[in-house]
C-alpha cells in the first residue's frame, strides 16, 4: 500500500493501463503539457509522449466524437471533459451516438472508451462548474457509470473502466482530488458493478456515492453516539448497479436512506428508492428517505454552497427524524 492523493491515483490508473496496453490514448483540453486542470494527468505526457497524450482545442464534441471514432477502429481512448457540466456541450455525442451505436448496429460496433470528468460541488465555482451529473448518464441506456469515493477506487475503477469493452463515464469528484488514502501497490483493477459496505451496521442502511460517502461515514459515527447503528454502502458503480448488496443490507436493517449530491428530481437515489419500494416492500419498516441537494442550481458563495449540498449534520438529522 502507498498513500496517494485521489488525483495521483487517477494518474496512476491511467499510467498503469497505458503501460499495459499500447492502444490506450488520452485526449482532452490541457491534459498533456499542463497535466490537466485538476493535475490528475501530471507526468503522463513525459512518460507516454505527445502521440498518446494529446491536448485538444476547446471542442467537446470533437473530443468525445474522436474518442468514439477511435474506439470503433481499434483504439481504447480516454477522453477528458474538464468539468462534468461540460458534458452538456457534447451530450448528443454521448447520449445519442456513443450510447446507442452498439445496439443500433446490432452489435457490429463496440466502443471501448472512457470519458473522465470532474464532477461535483465544494469549490465555490458556481452553478455551471459544480454539478453532480452522474444521474444524467445513468438515465441513458448504453452507458456504464462509476463514481469513485477513495483514491484506491479512483485508480481501480478507472483501470476497470479502461478495460471494459463498453463506454464508461468516470465521474471523479473535484472535492476529493486532494484527499489521501491507501492505494494497493502494483496492478490494481476493480471490477465495475460492485458496491461496498464501507461500514457495517444493523439499524439503518445509508446508501451514498462519491463525496457523499465520507459524509455518510461521518454521519454514521455521529449516529452511533445517538444509539443508531448505521450501515453505509458506497454504490461506486451506478451502471451496472449492485442491487444485491443494497438489498441484503435493507433486508437486514429494514430502513433505507440515500444521500445524493445531485439536485432532487430523478436522481440515482430515486431509482434505487423505487427499486426498493417495489422489490423490498415487505422488508421495509418505514418510509425510504432521500437526502439530496434541493432542486436548485448551485449557488457560489461558500456558506450558500455548504448549506445546499447534503452535510453530515443534515444526514444525521434526517435519519433521526425518520426513525425517531
Amino acid at each position: 500500500m502507498a498513500e496517494l492523493t485521489y488525483r495521483q491515483a487517477v494518474a496512476e490508473g491511467i499510467a498503469q493501463e497505458m503501460e499495459r496496453d499500447p492502444l490506450v490514448f488520452l485526449l482532452g483540453e490541457d491534459v498533456a503539457d499542463a497535466g490537466g486542470a485538476f493535475k490528475a494527468t501530471v507526468g503522463l505526457l513525459e512518460r507516454f509522449g505527445p502521440e498518446r497524450v494529446r491536448d485538444t482545442p476547446i471542442s467537446e464534441e470533437a473530443i468525445v466524437g474522436a474518442a468514439m471514432g477511435a474506439a470503433m477502429t481499434g483504439l481504447r481512448p480516454i477522453a477528458e471533459i474538464m468539468f462534468s457540466d461540460f458534458l452538456a456541450t457534447c451530450w448528443d455525442l454521448i447520449a445519442n451516438q456513443i450510447a446507442k451505436t452498439r445496439y443500433m448496429t446490432n452489435g457490429q460496433i463496440s466502443l471501448p472508451l472512457v470519458i473522465r470528468t470532474a464532477n461535483g460541488a465544494g469549490s465555490r465555482f458556481g452553478a455551471q462548474h459544480s454539478q453532480s451529473l452522474e444521474s444524467w448518464a445513468m438515465a441513458v441506456p448504453g452507458l456504464k457509470v462509476v463514481a469513485p469515493a477513495t483514491p484506491a477506487d479512483a485508480k481501480g475503477l478507472l483501470a476497470g473502466a479502461i478495460r471494459e469493452p463498453d463506454p464508461v463515464i468516470v465521474f471523479e469528484h473535484k472535492s476529493l482530488y486532494a484527499s489521501k488514502g491507501e492505494v494497493p501497490e502494483g496492478e490494481h483493477v476493480e471490477e465495475l458493478g460492485r458496491a461496498l459496505v464501507r461500514r457495517a451496521g444493523e439499524d439503518v442502511t445509508i446508501v451514498a456515492l462519491a463525496a457523499m460517502v465520507p459524509r455518510a461515514l461521518d454521519a454514521a459515527e455521529r449516529l452511533r453516539e445517538e444509539g443508531v447503528d448505521a450501515e453505509v454502502i458506497d454504490v461506486r458503480s451506478l451502471v451496472p448497479l449492485d442491487m444485491s448488496t443494497i438489498a441484503s443490507s435493507v433486508a437486514k436493517t429494514s430502513r433505507m436512506f440515500t444521500v445524493e449530491e445531485n439536485p432532487r428530481l430523478c436522481g440515482w437515489g430515486a431509482e434505487i428508492a423505487s427499486i426498493v419500494a417495489e422489490g423490498l416492500f415487505d422488508d421495509l419498516d418505514g418510509p425510504i428517505v432521500r437526502i439530496t441537494t434541493p432542486h436548485v442550481p448551485l449557488p457560489a458563495a461558500d456558506e450558500l454552497e455548504d448549506a445546499t449540498v447534503p452535510s453530515v449534520e443534515r444526514i444525521v438529522r434526517a435519519v433521526l427524524a425518520a426513525i425517531g
Binding site: G69, Q97, L241
Partner: protein, 338 residues
C-alpha cells in the same frame, strides 16, 4: 469490393475500365433506390427513408476510389454510400423492410445502415454528429499507421451545425487522413440552404477557415467526382491531411418518404433532371465509344440484382422480439443490475 467490377458485358475497348466500373455502380444504386421507392409506395418500407436518387455520382465515385479497408461515415441518406462499399443489396433492403435478415437485424432501420465488414462505419441520423466521429477513425488510422482513410459524407445543412466546425478544425490541426464530402443538394429538409447560410457555398467557402483548399465540384459529373475522390483520398493517404469537398447536386425526390417536394420551382427541378448524373455519364461514355449493348447489359444486371435482393428481403421473417434485450453491451446482453 471485387464484385463491383464483375459483370456480364466486357468494357468497350478504349475506355478506362474505371469509368465503366463507376457507371455500373451508379446504375446499381439507381436501380436500388428506385425499388426502395416502389416499396414505400407499397407500404413495405417501415419508418422513414431518405433516398439518394440523383446524387449517385458522389457515393459511387468515392466507392470506386476507396481502398477496401477505408472507412465510410454517412447520414440517414446513406443507402448509396452503403452499397458503394460493396455491401450486398439484400440485407440493406431487408433492413428497410424491418426484417430479421436486415443489415442490423431490424434494429437500426434505414437511417443507420452499418456494415463494419465493408468499412461502412455507420449512418448517423443526427445532423453533424458523424463528422467528429469520422475524424476519430482517421486519428486511429493515423496513430496505427494503417494507411486507412476515412471519408465522411454529409449534407449542405450540416455545415451550419457546431460539430462541423469542431471536426474540421481538429482534423486540420492533427492533419488527419479524412475527407469531408458535403453533398450540397441545395436543400435541407424543405428550406433552401441559401436562405440560412452566410456564404454561397456552404462548405467550399469555409475551407479557408480551417486552412484548407476550397474544392467545389459538379457532383453530377461522375468523371469530375472520380478525379476529386482520387485526389482527396490520395492526399489523405499520403499524410497530407484532410480535405473538404463540396459536391453540388440535387435530389430527384423529396427529403424523405413523407415529402412530395412541392417547395421546389418546377423549372429548377426540370433543369436538374436534365442533368441527371446517370444519364449524363451514360451519354459521356457513349460519346467516348461505349456500345449501347454495354448499358443494356449493365442495367439488366442491376435490375436482376435488385429483383433478387427484393425477393430475399421480402422473404425474410419479421425479427424476433427476443433481440430487444440483446447487444446493449459487448457481452451481448443489456443487464444493468445484478
Amino acid at each position: 469490393m471485387e464484385d463491383l467490377t464483375a459483370g456480364a458485358a466486357p468494357p468497350a475497348s478504349g475506355i478506362d475500365p474505371g469509368r465503366i466500373e463507376l457507371y455500373r455502380l451508379m446504375a446499381r444504386l439507381r436501380a436500388f433506390e428506385k425499388r426502395a421507392y416502389d416499396l414505400f409506395l407499397q407500404n413495405l418500407v417501415k419508418g422513414t427513408s431518405h433516398l439518394g436518387l440523383g446524387q449517385e455520382a458522389i457515393a459511387a465515385a468515392y466507392g470506386v476510389a476507396m481502398r477496401a479497408d477505408d472507412y465510410t461515415f454517412c447520414t440517414y441518406r446513406g443507402h448509396d454510400h452503403t452499397l458503394a462499399r460493396g455491401v450486398p443489396m439484400a440485407p440493406v433492403m431487408a433492413e428497410l423492410l424491418g426484417r430479421e435478415g436486415g443489415l442490423m437485424g431490424g434494429k437500426g432501420g434505414s437511417m443507420h445502415l452499418t456494415s463494419v465488414a465493408h468499412g461502412m462505419m455507420g449512418s448517423y441520423a443526427i445532423v453533424g454528429a458523424h463528422l467528429p466521429i469520422a475524424a476519430g477513425a482517421a486519428w486511429s488510422a493515423q496513430v496505427r499507421g494503417s494507411g486507412q482513410v476515412a471519408v465522411c459524407f454529409f449534407g449542405d445543412g450540416a455545415t451550419n451545425i457546431g460539430a462541423f466546425h469542431e471536426a474540421l478544425n481538429l482534423a486540420a490541426v492533427w492533419r488527419l487522413p479524412v475527407v469531408f464530402v458535403c453533398e450540397n443538394n441545395l436543400y435541407m429538409e424543405y428550406t433552401p440552404i441559401e436562405a440560412v447560410t452566410a456564404v454561397k457555398h456552404p462548405a467550399a467557402d469555409r475551407a479557408s477557415a480551417y486552412g484548407l483548399e476550397s474544392i467545389l465540384v459538379d457532383g453530377n459529373d461522375a468523371d469530375a467526382m472520380l478525379d476529386v475522390a482520387r485526389s482527396t483520398i490520395g492526399r489523405a493517404r499520403d499524410g497530407e491531411g484532410p480535405s473538404l469537398v463540396e459536391a453540388v447536386t440535387y435530389r430527384h425526390g423529396g427529403h424523405s418518404r413523407a415529402d412530395p417536394a412541392k417547395y421546389r420551382p418546377e423549372s429548377e427541378v426540370q433543369e436538374w433532371f436534365a442533368r441527371d448524373p446517370v444519364l449524363l455519364y451514360r451519354t459521356a461514355l457513349e460519346a467516348a465509344g461505349a456500345p449501347t449493348e454495354l448499358f443494356t447489359a449493365i442495367e439488366a444486371d442491376a435490375d436482376r440484382e435488385v429483383d433478387e435482393a427484393t425477393e430475399i428481403a421480402t422473404a425474410s421473417p419479421r425479427p424476433s422480439v427476443s433481440i430487444i434485450d440483446r447487444d446493449v453491451w459487448s457481452d451481448g446482453g443489456s443487464a444493468w443490475r445484478n
